[in-house]
Symmetry: D2
Subunit: 302 residues, 4 copies
Amino acid sequence: MIHSFNPQLYYHTMGQHPAVLMVQDGDTVITTTVDARGWDEKGESAAARGNPMTGPFYVEGALPGDTLAVRFESITPNRDWAWTTNMLAPAVIDPAVAASLPASEIVHWTVDVAQGVAYLKEPTPGLAKLKLPLRPFLGCFGVAPSKGQFISTATSGEYGGNMDYKGLIAGTTVYFPVSAEGALFYLGDGHALQGDGEIMGTGLEISMDVQFTVSVQKGKTISWPRGQTDTHWFCIGNARPLDQALQHATTEMFRLLQEDCGLTSSEASLLLGQAVEYEIANMFNPAYSVVCKLPKSVLSSL
Amino acid sequence: MIHSFNPQLYYHTMGQHPAVLMVQDGDTVITTTVDARGWDEKGESAAARGNPMTGPFYVEGALPGDTLAVRFESITPNRDWAWTTNMLAPAVIDPAVAASLPASEIVHWTVDVAQGVAYLKEPTPGLAKLKLPLRPFLGCFGVAPSKGQFISTATSGEYGGNMDYKGLIAGTTVYFPVSAEGALFYLGDGHALQGDGEIMGTGLEISMDVQFTVSVQKGKTISWPRGQTDTHWFCIGNARPLDQALQHATTEMFRLLQEDCGLTSSEASLLLGQAVEYEIANMFNPAYSVVCKLPKSVLSSL
Amino acid sequence: MIHSFNPQLYYHTMGQHPAVLMVQDGDTVITTTVDARGWDEKGESAAARGNPMTGPFYVEGALPGDTLAVRFESITPNRDWAWTTNMLAPAVIDPAVAASLPASEIVHWTVDVAQGVAYLKEPTPGLAKLKLPLRPFLGCFGVAPSKGQFISTATSGEYGGNMDYKGLIAGTTVYFPVSAEGALFYLGDGHALQGDGEIMGTGLEISMDVQFTVSVQKGKTISWPRGQTDTHWFCIGNARPLDQALQHATTEMFRLLQEDCGLTSSEASLLLGQAVEYEIANMFNPAYSVVCKLPKSVLSSL
Amino acid sequence: MIHSFNPQLYYHTMGQHPAVLMVQDGDTVITTTVDARGWDEKGESAAARGNPMTGPFYVEGALPGDTLAVRFESITPNRDWAWTTNMLAPAVIDPAVAASLPASEIVHWTVDVAQGVAYLKEPTPGLAKLKLPLRPFLGCFGVAPSKGQFISTATSGEYGGNMDYKGLIAGTTVYFPVSAEGALFYLGDGHALQGDGEIMGTGLEISMDVQFTVSVQKGKTISWPRGQTDTHWFCIGNARPLDQALQHATTEMFRLLQEDCGLTSSEASLLLGQAVEYEIANMFNPAYSVVCKLPKSVLSSL
C-alpha cells in the first residue's frame, strides 16, 4: 500500500512520540520534509529550527529486537534554493587557524533539479563558475532510541539520527535496530549535496519530497545502522571522537561478516584488512559518524 | 639522469643519516625496497625488522623551506608472495570485542603480478575463492624531519614516514617540506595491496622494484605532505587521534586553496564543505593518517 | 520546610517525567536511593538495574535559564554491604593488555559505617588486610535535560547525570542549569567510596540515605554543572573523549571567573594557568567527566 | 662522588649525543638549567629557544633493559624573574570560545625565592594582590629514546621528555627505561610553579640550580617513567589524546602492582579501582601527559 502523508507537526527529538501514521510491513510512504531550520517548499517557516522531523511512522509488527529496513525510492528537492554556512567548523582545522577565521554567515545557493546542479546565488569572484552536481540525501533519520529515551535531532546513535552521511541517497536501503513497538521512523534534514564530513556544519540545506518503503525483519537483531547500495554493504558508527565512531562501524561490519556471511573472525579480519573502505560522514555534530564499507563484488566473489 | 641504486644498508629511523646517493634536481632513481620485516626479493633477511628504509637520497639544491616533489613512475612487487597478520587491530574495534579475539598470526599470500591479483596461500573455506586485485604502493617514505630529529620508521609526521596510505600508487606525485640540506629522501615498506586504515596493522607486505623522479620547488614552503594523482589533489595529516590527523590534513588543503589557488577563506570553505573527500589511510601506527582530497575536475572548473 | 520522601518508583531516564514531589525554594528533602542495580537498603530489588533514580523533585519557581543549587547535608550508606566489579575497564588500559584480562566478576564488600571503612567480604591473599576509608557520594544526579529530551541515566551532559565524581560528598553544593519548569531534580547511584575515573566501571555500589536542600538562583544562567566545597570551586564537563570533557569544564570555569569574579580573559587565563587543578571523575560511562577546580584560598586572596 | 657541572652547550633533541659528563652509579651532579627560551640565570641568551637541555650525562653501567633512577635533591630558581604567556591554549577550551580570544602575549613575574612566592611584575587590577607559592620543578627531562631516535624536546614519550608535570619537585625520585648505553640523562625547562595541565602552554619559565643523584637498577625493565614521592607511587603516560596517555599510565601502574607487589590482575584492579588518583600533567605539548598515582599508605597497609 502507498500512503501520501502531508506532515502537520514536526518533532525535534526522536523518541516514543505519538505516531502520525500507522503503516504495514511493505508499505510505501510519500511525504515531505522541511529543512534544518524548519523552512518548507515555499520557503515558509513550518517548524522551529534544529532538524524538525517528519513522522514518526509506526510500522505494524516491528518490535524491539527486530530490524527495520527503509528503502528510499526517491529524495528530491522540492524548491529551487538551499542555504549553507560559509566557514569551516573549528573542529576540522588546527585550533590556531580556526581562531583566525571570521564568523560564519549564511549564503544561498540556486538548486536546479532539472539540470542536476547547484551554484551560489551571489558568488564571489573565486567561485564565479562553480557548479556542483546534485546528490540529494537526508541528513537525519532513524527510529526511536532504546530505554524510552527522547534524544535531540542534533545528534545520533545506534538508532540513527543526525548522521549527515552523503551516501544515503535514493536507491539506498538502511537498516535500523528496533527499540520501540512500531519502530517509530522519523526523517528530515534534507541536503541537496554535501562533501564528506559536513565540515562547514551544513550541506545544501533544503526541503524534500521523499518516497520510501518499510519492511520488518523479524527476529533479526543488529546494533548499529547498516545499509546497502547497488555496490556496497555498509555499517555506520556514531560517537565522538572519530576513532570511536570508526570502532563501532567496524565492529558492526565484523559482526555482519561473521553472523550473516558465516566467516570466522580471522576470515572477516583478512577480508576487511585488505578490502575495507571508510567514509567520514560527519565531524560536526555532537556524535561524529564514520561509515565502514565493503564492495558487494568482493563479497559475491567468495 | 637515471640512477640504478642497489641498497646495501637500511635505516630504521628517518633523519640526517649519511646519504647513500647524491642526485640532481630532475634525476630518476631505480632501486629496490625490502619488506617491513627486512626480507628482500629472494625472501632473505637483508635488514632487521621494523620498516627498514632504502636511502637516504640527497637531492642537490634542496634546502630547508623548499619542497621536494617525488613522482613514482613504477612500484612493482619483485617476488611472488607477501605476508599479513590475520586479526583486526584492537584500536579499530570495540574494546569488549577486541578482548574476545584470538592472537594474530602471520599468513602468506600468493602475489601474481602478471595476473594482477593476490590470494591466500592456504585459504580457509570461507575465503577459498578470494582473489583481490593488486594495487602496489609504498607504506613508508619521506624526508629527514625538522630540528635534527631522527624518528623511528614506525611512525609519521610532517616529513612523511609510515603513513600506509593505499592511494600512494605509481603515477602519484608526493610533495614534502624540506627540513634538511638535500632533503634526504627515504622509502620502503611496500604493500601489494591494502584496505583503508591498515586495520590489521599490515597490508600485503612485500619487497618492491621502484622507480621515482625527484624535483625541487625552490622557495615553496608547505607544512604537511601533499600530492596529486590524475584525478585529485590531496594533503595528508599524521597524528593521533583521527580527529587531529583530519584537522592537519584539512588545514593544509585549506592553505593550498588560499595560497595556490587564490581563494578567500570563505571561498575555500564553501568549496571544501561541499566537495571535499576524505580517506582514512591508517589507524594503526603511532600516528594515524587522514587524507583530505579535492577532485581536480572541481578545481579546474573554477 | 523539610520533606521526608519515601520513593515508590524509579526512573532510568532523566527528563520531564511527572514530579514525585513539589518543593519550595529553600526546602530540604530527606529520602533514599537504591543502588545501580536497583537493590535497596534491605538488599531487595526495588527497581530494574541501570541507575534507577529517586525523583524527580519539582522545585517551585525554577524556570529555564535559572540555576538550581543543591546542597547535600548528608549521604550515608543505609546497609552494610556494597558490590563492585573486579577488573579494570578496557578503556583505561592499553588494548593489548585489556585483551589479556579475564572477564570481570562481581565481588562484595563489607561497609562499616560506624568505623568508616570498607573491606572485601572474601579477600584474596594479596588484599587480605585492605581497609579503605568510606567517602560516600552519589554517582548520578541532575535535572531534566534541555529540548524535552529524556536521556538514559547511563550517561551525562550539561544537565548532570551519571558523572561518578568522587568529590560530590556531603557538604558539597552543586549547581545545575535549569531546562524545564521546576528543574526536576533526580538522584541515585550511591557509592560508598571510589577511586578517580571509576576505572573498574563501579564504585562501592550501595543504597543511601540522603538529605539535601534546594534553592533557585533566578536569572542566573550557567552551561555546565558547577559546585563548591569548603576549599574549592569546581566545574564539571561531560563528554567523550577526555580532551573534550576537559575543554567543557575549563571553559565553564573560565566563564565563571569572568562573569562572577570580574576578571578579564587574560587575568582568568593567568590565574587558571598557574593555579588550576583537574580531577578525572569518570572514564567509563558513555560521556566521560572531568572536573576543573580552583582553590577558594586563591580566589579570596585576589 | 659529587660533580659540579657547568654546561657549555645545550641540546634541543634527546638522543645519543656525545655525553658531557661520565658519572658512576650513585654519583650526584650539581648543575644548572636555562629556561625554555634559553635564557640563563643572568637573563642572557645561552641557547636557542625550544627547551634547551643540560646534558647528556652518561651513567656508567646503565644498559638497555635497565632502569635509571634519578633523585632530585634540589631544584631552585637561580634568578628573580620568570615569564609566562597570558592566554589559555586553544586545546583546553571549547573551539568557539578559543576563536574569540586575543593572541597570547608574554608577561613577567617576580620570583622571590626567599619568601617562596611569585607575583606579576605589572599586574592588572583583577590580579593586583595575586601571590602564588613557589613549587619549582623541571618540565623536561629524561633519557635517550629507543631505536637510536633523536626526538625534539618539545614532546615526550617512554623515555620522558617534555612532560611538564608539576609534581616532579625536589624530593621526588623518577625512574626511566634505559634504551642507550649510559642512559644519557638530560634535564631542563624549569618552572617556578605551574597549574595542572600547563594549560597556557607555560609554567613560570625560569633557569634553575639543580642537584640530583643517579642510580642504576640492573635488569629491572619498565615501560614508562615511574616515580615516588614521600606519599605516592606514580606512573606517567605520554601520548595524545588524554585517553591514551591515561591508558599508558594506568597500564604501567597495573604492571607495577603485579610485578613489584605480587598482586593478581583482579587484586590490582580492585585496588586501583577504589584508590587510584590521576593528575593531568600537560594538555599542551605534542604528547599529553597523565599521571596515575597510588598512595603509599594504601600499599603499605596490604
